[in-house]
Homo-oligomer: 159 residues x 2
């Protein structure tokens, strides 16, 4: 089973949750409340995500985190890259690849690159907006801002 780390999984969940109220500035405890994640964990992930261009942080009193782009303009690929680094299958293909014994002449390079291109394209194509689409339907809109109603735990399964 190829799976991404829980941290990455959580990252996507957090971003999806924030995308439902794109204008609002949320603190780490807020996010914890909405996602069910422990506060320190949520804080840790937000910290990492805030280094990316799609999430800004505001320090000090009344600070917090806010999306700096519309959900439709934030791809899943970006979120994963923010937490895991470049997306590639097989360490052979990563940027720092000075580990591979045969380097440029690696016979398998071509095959893996094809696979990686397809994966990246798929991740690039799916946006945060796509992820929340069904959510909107389920709740049939009308979600008042600041309602403070925690969503049902929308964490991906823990394995």
């Amino acid at each position: 089973m190829i799976k991404l780390s829980k941290m990455t999984d959580y990252g996507v969940v957090i971003m999806s949750e924030m995308a439902r109220l794109p204008e609002r500035t949320m603190t780490a405890p807020d996010v914890s409340l909405y996602t069910g994640l422990p506060v320190p964990t949520a804080a840790k992930i937000l910290r990492v995500l805030a280094k990316s261009p799609f999430l800004t942080s505001q320090r000090g009193a009344h600070g917090g985190y806010q999306l700096s782009r519309k959900p439709a303009d934030i791809s899943i690929a970006e979120i994963i890259r923010a937490i895991e680094g470049p997306v590639a299958v097989t360490s052979c293909v990563d940027e720092s690849g000075d580990d591979c014994a045969v380097e440029e002449r690696c016979p398998m390079r071509g095959g893996w690159e094809k696979i990686n291109r397809a994966l990246n394209a798929a991740l690039e194509e799916v946006t945060l907006a796509d992820m929340c689409l069904d959510t909107e339907k389920l709740n049939s809109g009308q979600r008042t801002p600041n309602a403070g109603v925690p969503s049902p735990l929308s964490l991906s399964g823990v394995k």
Copy 2:
């Protein structure tokens, strides 16, 4: 960095090496010689791979492993599945998915499924033959069967 485990990586390397002499029956020590992997490790992976339809094993004296299909008919997806199980990104989507709190109504399911379909398609499309293609070129053909010349370590990088 999404990466597959070393074992899977090794598995692909082993299969690629075997694909260069598709008719030959190879023992674990043979494979070790060709790939540079320690014998016990090679044996372990071969054992696992042999449970799949594309690799058969013969026990006893003069036994060993042999491809049961042409390299062009063995996809990378099959090899990865043999070692890691079903290929899916996010544990949420795996078959046993009774872990996910919201199950069928998971708002993100749609997005992840799209991503997984693309990944699987890419893996399905690349075959062992594709992987070895460049190798043939590098050695400019004329590889006598049973030559016993170990290829240069074609392991993917270790990270």
